[in-house]
């Protein structure tokens, strides 16, 4: 009970104490910091009253209103000051980050998306998670080539000019690494939703349906059963994809969220394999080969295989089953005060559309159905929201997704019964966040 935040019941409102160093230097900021500190002190007095106000004020009113700031009384910045716009300097906290100790080589590692701070369903391209197997490159698109060979009548080479002349589609899909949430199979291991679930992102991808290109090359419709996708990077990443999937909704993509792919995401060309784990979305895509057998490449024979309790490995696992997570309030956060909150989160399924998300605030005893925000698209992130009034007592927040196949996201115990705790990949368990009386939210697992 000695914790200050706990004594006040909740958080002391003084966000200005967390500004980047260069911002804090400006006299304007210092002045605001001083004023905010005054407001916060005044707030403490009011908080003692029966009903705490969310925005306490003393004297004549809020100095942020009474004293007109420079941005209201001065001249602002000109157009095109940033030829390519960047986020506000106050948003610096939201960055892609590595999980310390997860990997030992940063060229074969992961940077996680800060899901705790994103809105809606589209991941800003600069915050899209990263996973590279042998480092990333910024490839000259005028020299990039894409080849289709194997069981085709006409093996062909395409330039980016060729591909971008073709009829294109634009589709919104999630991409999730098969190892997302891998660290939580046995027990709680990491503090925030960025590290538990941040290997999922969602973008609008633009490109040519692979089916059209396979048709253009005259693929063997009788004997072609699989395609191999291969990257142009040092690892020349390769994965086998069943031909039905290749002909269904796979895209040879160059666009992402209205611009070209970012280099970290495969510029100038990557494969989009909706519903399937990210490793199959081969980046810097250079080649598709049509074949009649699976290839057993390194990333489908040594990694991305799921160990079962009896020592067997599941090979050629790819679909990301229905999953959801509450992104706010979530682990490592602190609630401001008692009262109203919007519990918000993301749900997705590699088998189709999300039809329902239920949310529990008591660790799974009772559930309420959340609102799904539009658009609700197949194999895309879906945003859910639900009202919640926090009474200041301990709570455990969970969400549970259901997709249009009727599949219900399972608790971790059910997954462990079948798959044990060492299978690494495809962990789609229900996530639990415990809210303490102090307002502190932490990652837990419950029975």
């Amino acid at each position: 009970m000695s914790d200050t935040q706990r004594t006040v019941g909740r958080l002391v409102k003084a966000p200005e104490n967390f500004l980047a160093k260069d911002d804090a230097k400006s006299p304007e900021t210092m002045r605001r910091k001083f004023l905010a500190a005054g407001a916060a002190t005044a707030g403490l007095g009011l908080a003692a009253a029966a009903k705490a106000a969310s925005n306490p004020v003393s004297g004549k009113g809020d100095p942020n209103i009474l004293n007109l700031p420079e941005h209201t009384t001065g001249l602002g910045m000109p157009v095109a000051a940033n030829g390519y716009g960047v986020p506000s300097k106050y948003e610096k906290g939201l960055q892609r980050r590595e999980s310390p100790g997860l990997t030992r080589v940063s060229a074969a590692s992961v940077a996680f998306t800060p899901l705790q701070g994103t809105f809606g369903i589209i991941t800003p391209s600069g915050l899209h998670f990263e996973r590279h197997h042998q480092g990333w490159w910024d490839i000259d698109p005028s020299k990039h080539r894409f080849m289709i060979n194997g069981m085709v009548k006409r093996p062909k080479v395409y330039t980016m000019d060729d591909l971008m002349r073709l009829p294109s589609v634009s589709r919104i899909h999630f991409i999730e690494c098969g190892a997302n949430t891998a660290m939580e199979w046995g027990n709680v291991a990491v503090p925030t939703v960025q590290y538990t679930h941040g290997m999922v992102s969602c973008s609008e991808f633009t490109g040519v349906p692979l089916s059209a290109l396979l048709e253009d090359c005259g693929y063997d419709k009788k004997n072609g059963k699989f395609v191999l996708a291969e990257g142009a990077d040092g690892s020349s990443m390769t994965r086998t994809i069943p031909i039905e999937m290749a002909l269904d909704d796979v895209i040879v993509a160059y666009g992402m969220n209205g611009e070209m792919l970012r280099p970290e995401n495969g510029y100038p060309l990557r494969l989009v394999v909706p519903g399937v784990q990210g490793v199959s979305w081969v980046k810097w895509l250079r080649r598709i080969e049509v074949g009649d057998q699976k290839w057993a490449t390194k990333d489908e024979a040594i990694h991305y295989i799921d160990l079962l309790p009896n020592g067997m490995h599941r090979q050629y696992s790819g679909i990301q089953e229905a999953k959801s997570v509450v992104t706010s309030p979530s682990g490592g956060q602190l609630l401001l005060d008692k009262g109203f909150y919007n519990i918000t989160g993301l749900a997705w399924s590699g088998r189709g559309k999300i039809t329902r998300v239920d949310v529990s605030a008591d660790g799974g005893k009772n559930w309420r159905t959340a609102r799904l925000e539009t658009p609700v698209l197949t194999k895309a992130l879906t945003r859910f929201n639900i009202d919640w009034s926090w009474d200041g007592k301990p709570a455990i927040l969970q969400s549970r997704a259901i997709d249009d196949t009727g599949y219900v996201q399972p608790p971790v115990q059910l997954l462990r019964e079948v798959r044990g705790t060492r299978s690494i990949y495809h962990n789609n368990m229900i996530q639990s966040w415990r809210v303490a009386e102090s307002g502190e939210v932490s990652n837990v697992q419950v029975s």
Partner: protein, 249 residues
């Protein structure tokens, strides 16, 4: 008349939008790949050894290449865990006989090495050829790839020290891979229509009697990811926790 013409136009527009009007071949787009181009890029080797170039390499030669180009990351005996997970170790003569690695069923076994997991020798050849060495991928000669593969196989006692691996005998070596029977494709995660192995239930009320927290974040991990206040917005319904200060209980 005008009205119905407009309507049929609208119907036509919808039909086009629903099925992009792709033609069988795109005039003037792309060109035939030359045999040399296909040879330069089509380097994949399948489990049935389709794509494997003729050639051979000895364990002894492999050891030389290994020490010069591989050992700094993987250790002299493929045992190193400093940069990547170990290549060799954890397999036994009994595994080679059975085609199943017994240690994979042991929860207490510390690490899964490459030789414990890999079922197909083609995977080793293909990956070494396409992606190794780490900072100079695709620079090994065909003989060097055979030799390094042979050296790794010898580390697991799959082939003897005087062995020369070649396109002629690699199928025989496959029959000795320790985990060759260790893979299953009996699961629902390969196709969209696959059958799930685990399903939750959509219970809404009084779904359980009590809720017990079975796992908390270990105390040592609270600040292992940096100061969380700096990883959240300074505005909004929450703040990040200040994990720079010692936690009081």
């Amino acid at each position: 008349m005008f009205k119905s013409a407009k309507l049929s136009l609208a119907v036509a527009a919808i039909a086009v939008a629903a099925t992009p009007n792709f033609v069988a071949a795109f005039d003037g787009i792309g060109r035939a790949a030359t045999p040399a181009e296909i040879k330069a890029w089509d380097i994949d080797v399948r489990p049935d050894f389709k794509g494997l170039p003729p050639g051979s390499g000895s364990v002894a030669k492999g050891q030389n290449v290994w020490e010069a180009k591989c050992a700094s990351c993987h250790g002299v005996f493929g045992e190193s865990n400093d940069v990547f997970t170990p290549i060799a170790g954890g397999t036994t003569p009994a595994d080679i006989k059975a085609g199943r690695v017994a240690n994979l069923a042991r929860e207490d076994f510390p690490q899964r090495t490459t030789l414990m997991k890999v079922a197909t020798v083609s995977t080793l050849w293909d990956y070494i050829n396409r992606a190794m060495p780490w900072t100079n991928p695709k620079t090994l000669t065909t003989e060097e790839v055979y030799a390094v593969t042979a050296f790794i196989l010898n580390l697991g006692d799959i082939v003897p020290a005087d062995f020369v691996l070649s396109d002629k005998n690699i199928a025989e070596v496959q029959k000795r891979m320790p985990n060759r029977n260790g893979m299953t494709t009996e699961h629902g995660l390969w196709t969209v229509k696959g059958k799930p192995d685990v399903r939750g239930t959509a219970c809404m009320k009084d779904c359980k009697k009590e809720v017990v927290v079975t796992s908390f974040l270990p105390g040592s991990a609270v600040d292992s990811h940096g100061n969380l206040i700096e990883q959240n917005r300074p505005i909004g319904p929450t703040r990040g926790l200040d994990t720079s200060k010692p936690k009081k209980n």
